[in-house]
Amino acid sequence: MRRLSIYFLLTLAALFFLLPLYIMLVTSFKTMPEIYSQGILALPRQFDLYAWRHAWSGATIGASDQGIHPFFINSFELVIPAVIISTAIGAINGYILTHWRFRGANIIFYLLLLGTVFPFQIILLPMAWVQGKLHIAGTLIPGLVMVHIIYGLAFTTLFFRNYYVSIPHDLVRAARVDGAGFFRIFWRVMLPLSTPIIMVTAIWQFTMIWNNFLFGVVFTNSDQQPVTVAINDLVDTVTSVHMWNVDMAAALIAAIPTLVVYLLAGKYFVRGLTGGAVKG
């Protein structure tokens, strides 16, 4: 009886969490007339792919009617260098902060720790000015990539720092006695032990950067925008008829990469969530 009510409540909750995804999916496969005639819960009578095709390559976003795909590609062009660079620097930083401790290392650590909780509104205006001076304002590469690398560093450094703390000092000391230097120890001792934290950090950064909206909307213009900004533009564009099916297809397209990562590597994603702070 008690067991039964636990499963009942969990199933109810599961339905609540799944409902929006279900409705997005079925809506994206319907035609607009069908959306008007059927309730939004109903399954599509036939799977119509028009909304997906139109969202991908036909819908008007900003000044072009190429659909969401150029922006989808933008997001990949943004995410790949930003994740690789911020993860690599974070690994080196974490290694230094744990195994090459020097005076002030703690202060640096706390400066970075605080950097993860500030609302980003506080840096938007100077950053916009600096990007203007560097003539990279409005660009995806290098403008937005640079912003994401800089503000990802605090997170990636903390991830690696917290992971490397648990690696015994003696391992590093032994390597030094054997004559290994700074870089050699990093390559030969630390990196081989780092696969799990690299996964956590890379997946975390991928998700955060892909999903970010604020930096995208502030620091990029028109055809340089990432996909999150583009879907908002698409949905916001006032036309005579609101194409809900196209909106839902576009939103799903924008969600697919992070959902796939989540389903394939959920355990690393969760570790990142529960281990790190969260930036909006």
């Binding site: 499963y7 409540l9 969990l10 599961a14 609540f16 969490f17 799944l18 409902l19 929006p20 997005m24 809506t27 959306i35 939004i40 620097i89 930083n93 230094i96 902060l97 090459w100 020097f102 640096i108 706390y110 400066l111 720790l113 605080l114 909780v117 509104q121 506080i122 840096i123 938007l124 205006l125 100077p126 950053m127 916009a128 000015w129 605090a154 030094r176 006695v177 004559g179 230097g181 700074f182 870089f183 998700t207 999903n211 970010n212 909206f213 604020l214 909307v217 502030v218 999150t228 879907i231 908002n232 909106d247 939103a251 992070t258 959902l259 989540y262 969760v270 702070a277 969260v278 909006g280």
Partner: protein
């Protein structure tokens, strides 16, 4: 001899370490801390579309706090933040307790509760905008079940639209709260629980008297993270309501964006960003410091 050689090479490596770390330190000092000072300066100047060095004292703050739109943004943050933090923590804790009862299919439930966290806030906003649309969404569904006078048009109602933001935000992150609480529950030593059970305590009593008090650090973390998310919420609200109807769902993040980048009132925008920072400091930083003390 060997010792002194190691010292020397250690010294050299120490220098390399310092050099390798310095770009990040300089970046943090410049792009975070100098930028904060810069924003403080901007908030004291007559900066409009372009930054200006014309000092105007606290005039921007007077404008800010003289603006009904700003007050609405603050009170919305209070309503949204308070409800969102309380509800998502409550749902998260409840789900975590349910999942902690040695449930079959625990993994599957976890995957379902957490997937919204992998999705962007903008997508969440778009999805819920569709679900909350009175002509198609929840109102239409309930009406089609025969309740033809059922009303649920909060998203179009300036007095209630802010609560739709709560619904969507809770949907997106209560699974995350669940994960945090579940990790906390799993971290409690089974021995304490076993001892209480031997003393004859029932499950409810064990939770109230033993488990929840031991979960205090987890409550801390959950509060810090959800309060931080509430203060930073932006994309979700933009995609869900666009800050409207009118500016009934404006929050400080939206106010700051609109004044700085759309209305060309950079000084006021900078002032609003500073108030946001102050709110964050007051709400979050004491907890972060306490938490860091506990860990170090």
């Amino acid at each position: 001899m060997a010792h002194s050689m190691m010292q020397r090479s250690g010294g050299k490596d120490q220098v390399i370490a310092g050099l390798m770390l310095s770009p990040t330190v300089l970046a943090a000092i410049f792009f975070i801390y100098a930028f904060i000072l810069w924003t403080i300066w901007l908030s004291l100047t007559r900066s409009t579309i372009l930054p200006s060095n014309h000092f105007v004292g606290l005039a921007n703050y007077r404008d800010l706090f003289g603006s009904s739109r700003w007050w609405r943004s603050l009170s919305n943050l209070g309503i949204f933040g308070g409800l969102y933090v309380a509800i998502s923590m409550a749902i998260g804790l409840f789900l975590a307790i349910l999942l902690d009862q040695r449930i079959r299919g625990e993994r599957l439930f976890q995957v379902i509760f957490l997937y919204p966290m992998a999705i962007s806030a903008v997508v969440t906003g778009v999805a819920w905008r569709w679900l909350l649309d009175p002509n198609f969404g929840v109102q239409a569904i309930v009406r089609s079940l025969g309740f033809s006078h059922f009303q649920f048009a909060w998203i179009d109602d300036p007095d209630f639209a802010i609560y739709t933001v709560v619904i969507a935000a809770v949907w997106q992150t209560s699974g995350f709260m669940m994960a945090i609480f579940l990790a906390g529950l799993r971290g409690i030593s089974p021995d304490i629980v076993k001892a209480a059970r031997i003393d004859g305590a029932g499950t409810l009593r064990i939770y109230r008297r033993v488990i929840l008090p031991n979960l205090a650090p987890t409550f801390f973390v959950a509060f810090i993270l959800s309060a931080g998310l509430a203060i930073k919420a932006f994309g979700l609200i933009i995609a869900l309501t666009g800050g409207g109807p009118g500016y009934s769902t404006n929050v400080p993040t939206i106010f700051m964006y609109v004044f700085s980048f759309e209305r060309g009132e950079m000084g006021v925008g900078a002032a609003s960003a500073l108030i946001m920072l102050a709110i964050m400091m007051v709400v979050v930083v004491p907890f972060v410091i306490l938490d860091a003390r506990r860990k170090v």
